[in-house]
Symmetry: C2
Subunit: 146 residues, 2 copies
DNA sequence: TGACATTGGTCAGAGTCTCTGACTAATTTG
DNA sequence: CAAATTAGTCAGAGACTCTGACCAATGTCA
């Protein structure tokens, strides 16, 4: 057992993911966006520019639609989203991000960019590129919505 | 915006992590290890060969020690762990994995190895090596216990 | 040595997240 | 058009997590 970590790839993926998420949450809280929870954020993150159906949010977040509904209720109360009728289907409603959500997203994006810069500095441009390449390729076998 | 995904590195890390975790859980359940939850597993995973203190488990899992205590209680009732006094500190106890836990870990390890093989097949040996290299290097800036 | 701070852990209570099951309404299918 | 599917809700329960308060053992340092 020399150099190279013996950690399995799962842990290796999780560690930087968690570090990044922590950074984003801290920055969001500092910017005043402290009235939503991680669970709510994981749903909000998946709202498309033109709104997204509850069922689709649930699928992508891998939670039940009941849970998704519960979380969207909270987000709605906090002013992050609104629900509008889906013009193409009278059963459905579209969950739309409100201005507050996009403002939060901007803060989050800035932090992600910052952390990505730090990582690139640590790894070097070449290795960072390789990392993103490999991960992107991996989506093909791990992302049901790829 | 061409080819290459525009997803941020966080999502890119999360997707394969979740896919792997799902695979492991499914296999565990199929092998009869269906009496513990993901939250419990995330604590159990961190128990060292000679046992680990509650406080340390809590820190590494990034949960409060109360929550860790709650989860270890469940694991103890289900027969996955035992608590023994820490010979070096009368306040502390060591959470030790029981045989059942090591058996589950074996199943989990096998699945992880299988998935890693699949990923290597998809990425090619070279890119898989680069991926693990980059992730391992990233630990230095993202893992507080590195 | 002895007061004081720190550390390991528990108890109690509350809020949040998540699920299963059962149901309504609209849409799609044969 | 009847039957099956899909979008979503309501109700209830279990699981997870936190804050605050607390006790006992250990460490610090004058």
């Amino acid at each position: 057992m020399v150099a190279e970590s013996e950690l399995n790839t799962g842990v290796l993926l999780f560690l930087p993911y968690r570090a990044l998420e922590n950074r984003v949450f801290a920055a969001l809280a500092e910017a005043g966006f402290d009235d939503f929870t991680p669970a709510q954020a994981r749903v909000m993150q998946r709202i498309g520019p033109d709104g997204t159906r509850l069922t689709e949010l649930a699928e992508q977040a891998q939670i039940t639609k009941q849970t998704a509904g519960f979380l969207v209720d909270q987000l709605e109360k906090a002013g992050y989203v609104t629900r509008v009728p889906d013009p193409t289907d009278k059963r459905a409603r579209l969950v739309r991000g409100a201005a507050k959500a996009w403002a939060a997203k901007e803060v989050a994006n800035a932090v992600v960019a910052e952390v990505e810069r730090e990582w690139e500095e640590h790894l070097g441009k070449r290795r960072m590129k390789q990392l993103r390449e490999a991960l992107t390729l991996l989506r093909e076998v791990t992302d049901p919505w790829a």
